[in-house]
Subunit: 192 residues, 2 copies
DNA sequence: GTCTATAACCCGATAGAC
DNA sequence: GTCTATCGGGTTATAGAC
């Protein structure tokens, strides 16, 4: 076997593929779908634009692969547990590099297919959240919870507006906790 | 004076300009900045693409004029009044056609100038909200309030996800009221 | 004032040399 | 596997005819 120096050919391919995907994720997150060009992604990854096409076939396919989100496991239980699970999930997305998350969020708003993919992935997740809320309008409450999460992320990373941009995830979560509990639980006691 | 049939020339011009702006607003709201083309706006307004350029000079200038937002008057007073003012403002933006509002929101995420304009307009407004909140972290609380408003609008109109898309503004406001009060007021009473 | 024609430049995708 | 050349299409913006 004429084993080459650095891994098999398949390994080599996977590595450059991963480099291209990383570059694409970053650019989709920063510029959105329309303004990211295959040429620019290729240059950033240090390869030729034709190679990107060779690997992924089309810009849309490249986006699909770059925007694949690890399915978030969301424990469902009591209303308070639902609220807490959402809060920790938010906290996790609030520090570190949310490149993949931002790529979807930003592109979703300009690319129809991205929006559709997100709806398909986010819908069932909202349903799972709604299942843990003991109220007639559980779906609306779940929708509001999701909206708040998105609003916070967008305001912090995309708009960089107000005190949200540099606040610590812990303080954000702390301030949001009463909100989430109020939305996840039915009204605690309404004596009339 | 050889007065023509329908208004002066200046009036005629203003009317077609307004027609172009209405078409532009709608398309910017639906497609975002990048995907709306001057050609399409012109066709929608029933004029020639060259005429749009003649009137507005550039696509960016057309967007600036189309995305001019009426400055929202926001009464500030006690924390509860701040929360209530925000809620009624949200309710107003939640029914009817929020074309201008959506044009900015959607384009903001891909167009640098739109983002800058929004930051310039939204920053002071957040400051005014923060001024009515008696807490050390008033700016963060104001930022969160703004984030929730944006999240709800985005989720309802742009993503059309979950039960938020077809819920009545009144129910949304009702569910959000405890959230807003909790964020606008310092903790009411914490007996420990 | 309105529209046609076109310049100058980008893009995604394809075909084919090496 | 990698890259060059190019096709066919789109865009903004300009120049000029009517």
């Amino acid at each position: 076997m004429t084993e080459p120096s650095a891994g098999s050919r398949a390994q080599q391919r996977r590595r450059t593929e991963e480099r291209i995907l990383a570059a694409a994720r970053q650019m989709f997150a920063e510029l959105g779908y329309e303004r990211t060009t295959i040429r620019a992604v290729a240059k950033k990854a240090g390869v030729d634009a034709g190679l990107v096409m060779h690997y992924f076939g089309s810009k849309n396919e490249l986006f699909s692969r770059a925007a694949e989100l690890p399915v978030e496991e969301l424990a469902n239980g009591s209303p308070d547990e639902v609220a807490e699970a959402l809060l920790t999930s938010l906290a996790k997305r609030l520090d570190g590099e949310p490149a993949a998350s931002l790529a979807v969020l930003r592109s979703m708003l300009t690319n129809a297919e991205a929006a559709e993919r997100y709806r398909a992935a986010g819908g069932p997740q909202l349903d799972r959240i709604a299942a843990g809320i003991p109220a007639a309008d559980a779906d609306l409450r779940a929708g509001l919870l999701g909206a708040i999460v998105h609003g916070v992320i967008i305001e912090r990373y995309l708009l960089r507006l107000g005190g949200l941009a540099d606040a610590s995830p812990e303080r954000i979560v702390e301030l949001l906790r009463p909100c989430f509990r109020a939305l996840a639980a039915a009204e605690p006691a309404d004596p009339d």
